[in-house]
């Protein structure tokens, strides 16, 4: 095999790698920030120290994750230029302001108030500290709003025209921001983030329950997370379905790839499993349920679903990754719903905190949300190919005038550094989990308001020991 350095492929690989890595952190921090706000609110309301311990343990995990999210996010804001400069030039009039709004309304908000959230305990009042948590949580949601708006516009572009110079010009900002797939994508993603957090938190809570450690705090974590799973996991199925219907309308070729359907047919079957073979243009070894695909997508048993063959070969997305990622996402989602149902049953039997086998299951489910988010992201992004702006601008025509060798070298550098960072991050998160929600001795808020700064350096060592 010869090593050929196709810049377009390498640039895609690099972007796919950096964005896949990045999305794990927002997926976690969006949910975690909101949850921390709820936990802190419960604490202020009830005065129950358990909530405080839970907050102070998870805020450390939040800090590690947020730090990794910020630095990997900065990379993305520059990669549009380094790897996709033609896209940046052509679509800049539209994508630029959306990303600009993200920085102005969200990025600053999160980054500034994170300092108070983490270090402000002895310096601001409890109410102000709670506000900082709420502000950071809202910041993560506003950030998701703008990023998903930009991403959705690339999927379902509208509200623009292409000038004589080949550049995209805005016609209607409301149509651009609230483009047709945006509401579905937004709700689907935020829900996914909440579920990701719920399952990560429940895994840790289950671990403590299983080991019979920190039982009170573990009940808070596990109970709240299961509550989320019970109500939100089934809702997510509904949101996902609505999103799918929108995709069927706007990007039928993506749906055909998701379903592994090659021929246009009325009463299309649902392919449960199979092997999409792009060369023979068929899905081999397919296990099908007749007519169900039509039923889901058109709500008629004999509705027409267009197959991949309707589009020329070079206008279809890569079928196998889309097909497989979709099945992984749905499969994980089903497992989440199942977990919620079991939790509900155990709660009814009054055995929710007392079923080791279920706690083991929940420990296994810890990364479920991350897997679902990543595979969902693959479905939607790979499914958009070969276009960068759907049906309008080809990915291959959008890359920077940079030689393949540089893209591949920087890709290798990213993989090494991200590997190191991610490895260390996971390691420290595991250590924080191991240490657990240890009740802290000193009063976290100290005196209300602002204190005179501590003077003696000895305080530093004394205080430093029990926080490392």
């Amino acid at each position: 095999m010869t090593l050929h350095l196709d810049p377009a492929l390498l640039a895609r690989l690099q972007f796919a790698f950096t964005i896949s890595f990045h999305i794990l952190f927002p997926a976690f921090t969006i949910g975690l920030a909101s949850w921390l706000a709820v936990v802190e609110w419960r604490w202020l309301k009830t005065g129950d120290e358990t909530y405080r311990d839970v907050y102070r343990m998870w805020v450390k995990i939040f800090a590690v994750t947020f730090g990794m999210g910020v630095v990997s996010g900065i990379v993305l804001s520059y990669q549009f230029g380094t790897n996709w400069s033609v896209f940046a030039d052509k679509a800049g009039n539209i994508i630029g302001p959306l990303l600009g709004f993200e920085v102005l309304t969200a990025f600053f908000l999160e980054a500034s108030f994170l300092g108070i959230m983490l270090f402000g305990w002895n310096r601001v009042s409890p109410k102000m500290h709670f506000s900082a948590t709420v502000i950071v949580a809202s910041g993560t949601l506003v950030s998701a709003f703008w990023i998903l708006s930009a991403n959705s516009w690339m999927q379902t572009p509208q509200g623009f025209f292409i000038g004589d110079d080949g550049l995209y010009y805005p016609l209607n900002w409301l149509a651009i921001i609230f483009n047709s797939s945006f509401p579905y994508r937004m709700i689907h993603m935020v829900t996914a983030a909440y579920l990701t957090t719920a399952f990560a938190v429940s895994g840790v809570g289950a671990f403590y329950l299983y080991r019979k450690k920190f039982t009170n705090q573990a009940k808070v974590m596990f109970g709240m997370a299961m509550l989320m799973a019970v109500f939100v996991a089934p809702l997510q199925l509904l949101f996902g379905d609505l999103h799918g219907l929108n995709t069927f309308k706007e990007q039928p070729v993506k749906v055909a790839a998701m379903e592994g359907l090659w021929e246009t047919q009325e009463g299309a079957p649902l392919v449960l499993f199979g092997w999409p073979d792009e060369e023979r243009e068929t899905t081999r070894f397919a296990v099908e349920i007749p007519k169900v695909s039509s039923l889901i997508l058109t709500h008629h048993l004999d509705g027409e679903v267009r197959g991949l063959k309707e589009w020329p070969k070079d206008r279809r997305p890569p079928v196998a990754p889309v097909f497989w990622s979709f099945r992984i996402m749905v499969g994980v989602g089903m497992m989440m719903i199942l977990t919620g149902v079991i939790a509900l049953f155990l709660y009814w039997k009054k055995r929710l905190f007392d079923s080791p086998w279920f706690h083991r299951w929940c420990m296994l489910m810890t990364p479920a949300g991350f897997i679902a988010v990543l595979s969902g992201w693959f479905v939607t992004e790979i499914g958009r190919q070969p276009y960068i702006v759907f049906n309008s601008l080809l990915t291959s025509e959008s890359i920077s005038p940079v030689a393949g060798i540089h893209i591949s070298l920087s890709l290798i550098a990213f993989i090494i550094i991200y590997g190191l960072v991610f490895g260390a991050g996971i390691y420290y998160i595991f250590r924080l989990v191991q240490k657990g929600p240890v009740p802290e001795t000193e009063t976290p808020y100290g005196g209300h308001g602002i204190e005179a700064p501590p003077l003696v350096s000895d305080v530093v060592t004394a205080k430093g020991e029990d926080h490392v």
Binding site: R56, A63, G73, S77, I95, E110, F113, H406
Partner: protein, 339 residues
């Protein structure tokens, strides 16, 4: 569709806004990068803890100005962004990798013990150093001009690398380190402060030397800059910058001997401002020097207008709460890592 094109000079406003964002970045992230450069030379681990503590609540917000600079350039001047980023491909990637490493070292160092704590300290230093060096080199390469054909960068991958850009890279390392040291004088006491004072005294001469060298090189290298600065009429106006720079250097020198705690930091910021304006004057009105002006690179008026509404509403708010955070964490740095 609305546009303010008829009422105001949109490209000029955006040129000023992005210029300000990048300058704020230099000032704010400058001192925490500088602190990272000085980090391994600190007299003890306790000093290092204090140093980290003094910037831990701020670095996130500081770095956001870099996203604002990059994101703003993309939004307001997509053409310049699309040319400059490929032109600086390698240094941009190196800078980003450096920023990643130092950014995560904050969190990891707080949580690590002994040997690995030391290791994250070095990673913090290395990341800060690489980020600063590449920023300085990009600045040096920027003022020398960029090759462009049509709407794309057409130079080589190493155009940014030459003796002058290496010098500006090293110069920025010295400059940020000086800012970092002055920050420490302001935010720490005792041993750390005394050590920071020593650093300032040492770095003072380096920064003065490099500023002199760069000011000398630029007009020699480029006739346009020579004609601009040494045109008799301009010379009088423009001399405000070097003269005020020298005055501030002199005040700084006195402050360092008088043990003034706060003024050095702001004097160095003033010196940075004068240099920044100097570079701005020299490269005016080019956004991609000598090829694309800021007017030519401007996004559609509708795009610039929309984002301007956001900026007019949000920037004062952003500045207000940035100020609020600095106020909350005012005073000397203790062990702020306890969250």
């Amino acid at each position: 569709m609305f546009s303010f094109e008829g009422f105001i000079d949109l490209p000029l406003i955006w040129y000023a806004l992005i210029g300000t964002a990048i300058f704020l970045y230099v000032l704010l992230d400058g001192f925490d990068l500088g602190l990272g450069i000085l980090f391994p030379f600190a007299p003890s681990e306790k000093c290092q803890d204090r140093m980290m503590g003094s910037i831990a609540p701020f670095w996130d917000g500081n770095e956001t100005w870099l996203v604002m600079g990059g994101g703003g350039l993309f939004a307001a001047f997509p053409l310049a962004y699309a040319i400059l980023m490929p032109a600086f491909y390698i240094p941009v990637i190196l800078m980003l990798l450096g920023l990643i490493l130092r950014g995560v070292s904050f969190e990891f160092r707080f949580k690590a013990h002994d040997r690995s704590k030391k290791r994250w300290g070095y990673v913090f230093h290395l990341g800060s150093l690489v980020a600063t060096l590449t920023q300085g080199m990009m600045l040096g390469a920027f003022v020398q001009g960029i090759s462009v054909t049509g709407r794309t960068f057409s130079g080589g991958p190493f155009d940014w690398l030459n003796a002058f850009s290496v010098m500006t890279g090293v110069a920025l390392v010295a400059g940020y380190a000086l800012l970092g040291a002055a920050w420490l004088i302001m935010k720490t006491e005792d041993v750390t402060q005394q050590w920071a004072r020593k650093c300032t005294g040492y770095l003072f001469w380096h920064v003065a030397l490099f500023m002199g060298l760069v000011s000398l090189c630029m007009p020699i290298m480029d006739t346009r800059i020579r004609e601009l600065w040494f045109n008799p009429l301009n010379f009088i106006y423009l001399s405000i910058m070097p003269v005020s720079c020298m005055v501030m250097f002199w005040m700084l020198w006195k402050d360092l001997r008088n043990k003034n705690e706060y003024r050095p930091f702001f004097l160095i910021q003033g010196i940075f401002l004068m240099n920044y304006i100097g570079i701005g004057v020299s490269t005016w009105p080019w956004l991609v020097p000598y090829r694309v002006t800021f007017r030519h690179a401007a996004a559609a008026p509708e795009s610039q207008s929309l984002l301007l509404i956001g900026a007019v509403i949000m920037l004062p708010v952003v500045l207000a709460y940035t100020g609020y955070c600095y106020w909350i964490f005012r005073g000397k740095s203790s062990h702020e890592t306890s969250y």
